[in-house]
Symmetry: C2
Amino acid sequence: MSKKIIIVGGVAGGATAAARLRRLSEENEIIMIEKGPYISFANCGLPYYIGEMITDRDRLLVQTVEGMSKKFNLDIRNLSEAIKIDREKQTLSIRKVDTGEMYEETYDTLILSPGAKPLVPPFKGLQEAENLFTLRTVPDTDKIKAWVDEKAPEHAVIIGGGFIGLEMAENLVHRGVQVTIVELGNQVMAPLDYEMASIVNKELKKHGVNLIFNDGVQAFEDQGNKILLQSGRFIDSDLTILSIGVQPENDLAKKANLEIGSRGGILVNEQLQTKDENIYAIGDAIEVKDYIQQTPAMIPLAWPANRQGRLVADHIHGQPVSYSGTLGTSVAKIFDLTVATTGNNEKLLKALQKDYEAIHIHPASNASYYPGGSPISLKLLFDPNTGRILGAQGVGIKGVEKRIDVIATAIKGDLKVTDLADLELAYAPPYSSAKDPVNMAGYVASNVMDGEVSVFHYHEIADLLAKGEIIVDVREPKERENGAIEGSINIPLGELRDRLNELPKDRPVYVHCQVGLRGYLATTILTHNGYQAKNLSGG
Amino acid sequence: MSKKIIIVGGVAGGATAAARLRRLSEENEIIMIEKGPYISFANCGLPYYIGEMITDRDRLLVQTVEGMSKKFNLDIRNLSEAIKIDREKQTLSIRKVDTGEMYEETYDTLILSPGAKPLVPPFKGLQEAENLFTLRTVPDTDKIKAWVDEKAPEHAVIIGGGFIGLEMAENLVHRGVQVTIVELGNQVMAPLDYEMASIVNKELKKHGVNLIFNDGVQAFEDQGNKILLQSGRFIDSDLTILSIGVQPENDLAKKANLEIGSRGGILVNEQLQTKDENIYAIGDAIEVKDYIQQTPAMIPLAWPANRQGRLVADHIHGQPVSYSGTLGTSVAKIFDLTVATTGNNEKLLKALQKDYEAIHIHPASNASYYPGGSPISLKLLFDPNTGRILGAQGVGIKGVEKRIDVIATAIKGDLKVTDLADLELAYAPPYSSAKDPVNMAGYVASNVMDGEVSVFHYHEIADLLAKGEIIVDVREPKERENGAIEGSINIPLGELRDRLNELPKDRPVYVHCQVGLRGYLATTILTHNGYQAKNLSGG
């Protein structure tokens, strides 16, 4: 029996659902409604068009209304806004954006994929700020690019240091603009933990980006050319990008009395149905479960949206489907750095009061003797009782997202940290080491789980010093010239076995080196000789 | 209680075992015997030193005898050959290579890590061929490099198109040498299937490498300056590298009456013990189990050697250990290409008469609208009954080994092909697409498993044509100008729904396009309209 299916929203999840629905059946009537002028555009590519990394605007339009309509035999209506759902009559009221004309369509099944919109608080002077933009759609992109092309701004201010903010920073620097990022928190890129985000700060500063932390907008003045910050400080701006986050487009769902979560996401079951079984919802507009903790989460990313679009189409066609949560695997290019994450970060685990352990390693992306390698800072979070992998973060120049992808796959395969050592990964000198960084992380985590080495963390150092604890630096004296922990004792690893008598056995000895390996070796030597040694995680 | 442990062989597995043994205990006496002058050298880096990609020879020496002895408190004896094991008395006879002096050492535990040596058949003229080399050790490397530096050979012949052969080809081309590869089989890189290896052929030819297949050496003439091939053909050579394979160094084990497999590998149990529980064996010298089929295999790679070295040390220290087989994940850089594989290939599955299905896809390494992407040819082998992943092969310029690593991890996590679609991998335009190539492979394989689309394979085409079957090319007419299957009917995808009446419903219709996606869409359209359609796997 033929069905009439309406999809609200023609980007990412909506477009994926439409294409999959047609591949599963030639019979159904499929209507796709899109408020904006374009469907299925490359939303993740928009900053790069402004930065002229992508020069051909047509490349942003992955599918055109005409092309996709024909290829998949769809009724696609752009510039059409879904206004109201009548759940009893199973009708959707649609408004033509250009004429204002209203009409109704009946549906058997409705898929809501309206996305999310940029958060814009009612700042004083917002309306008058002509140089203020948000970035979400192709028209937004056109406006920002035209402003850069025509006004040649000297200085841009980016409010919010998330993905879009940082990608815009890079692309504006690429256009010769001086960029300042203003971030309310104490770090950029919220998915990272503080110490990992600090590496990103360095990269941003290296490329001339000015960073202001723990501060936010109080008001826009002088048509937006001056920004008054909460600290009372004024900064000049020729172009301001507001990128402090997004909020789900939930108006339609709210008005239809569908359930909405505490953070505004439309609530759905594991089959992605709202409480009305004829209405599905997908993408940035819905609340998902965090894959690791199975707690509610808002994770506006492209992969989950596309995956959900596919699953909804399968479920409509009677296939058993279950969306088990979003892991939140993500990656961003920040100038020469790649920053990638998967699963939970330490901030979240701490907030949830979970039992976790963290290890840091700094292996080379490929064999150290082969040119072109560079260090990767890799952090792995795990449950020390079960060995379950809880999350990972990587920052570096090469091969970073590869390791995060492998760990994301290990999580889905329910592998433990101890299993990471056993992953047989591809090795040749241009690509990796015979022990891949993921193997290394597995070995180090296994050592912690076995109690073979105790570790301590960078954030404990100040406390230890205050308490007068013994900190041993096992680097060579020459390395200490570039900085050393004040009050630490220097015993190079090679001399340690001969100088054991300099250390006490009746209290803990805290060991550190540059990247953690020599500290680990020193800790095992001390432990085997009866000392209570702990190694600094990650050096 | 302190133990005396002797390790025979100081590279890869042996060196790893030694370091791990010391980290686990400060007490044991650990002696490492190495026949050659160097321990723990970068065997995978040797071709790149000859090619001057690595310019500092010291970088090849990962650990020196002195440095490693001190760091790990080891008794390392290089230029020392293990001659004979007396298993009853638990002694090892050792010969000093430079003086010939013999002596005995007792042991509690012995670890054999002697490696493998290049296969050198007794070709006629072998002894007189001064320009003939094999490559396994640092001295081999020095000899070849000196020959290239001093003799400036114009033309080199490489016998055998495996990993070392191809890496040597690239590095000699890099040194300005004209290279010919002579290969007894019909393809290079045995871990790949024929159609995947064909992509490598193109790359080799593009860089001026001359390929001779289905031919081998009959004799070396004129001090090796002329090579007579089995076909009767003569080729000139100023430098010949013999790289037709390796054979395990099993003399010591054989003489000690330890068990040896049919292909010469030392037999061990899952704890890597020989039939003498005080004697372990690891690395290229042992026979392992193929991880997928659990059948005997010889897989001389660095990762397994290192992993085994670690596990042996753990087992000696009473930890439960089980080596469950080698997956054989590998990667090689062949000029601009990356070639990576994991698990079984189609040749093996066919030979073992296993029930398998293969799919081919050709996705872009990253979002097509972002610069720098390039296609990856990805082949996935799986069991169509259970969905078990059996193997994968990838060839392309960027992001190839990343996808193979993810699939290798999925195999270890016992994920099915259908689960590959559900892997949440890192996406941003410079790195991937919202549907990663691995997700795509999962979707395509799922479609085959669901019976949603039937596929046929490139090797069936000649047969189908001979039988007069209907082959429909759904590409645009313009694309056919670059080549088309003779006798195929051209119906572009966009016109298919309007031209269904041109095709018969009472017999199969074989569909193909360029890369497989349009063929897949056409196949679903035909199937839903009552046709018996099959899509060419991978276009």
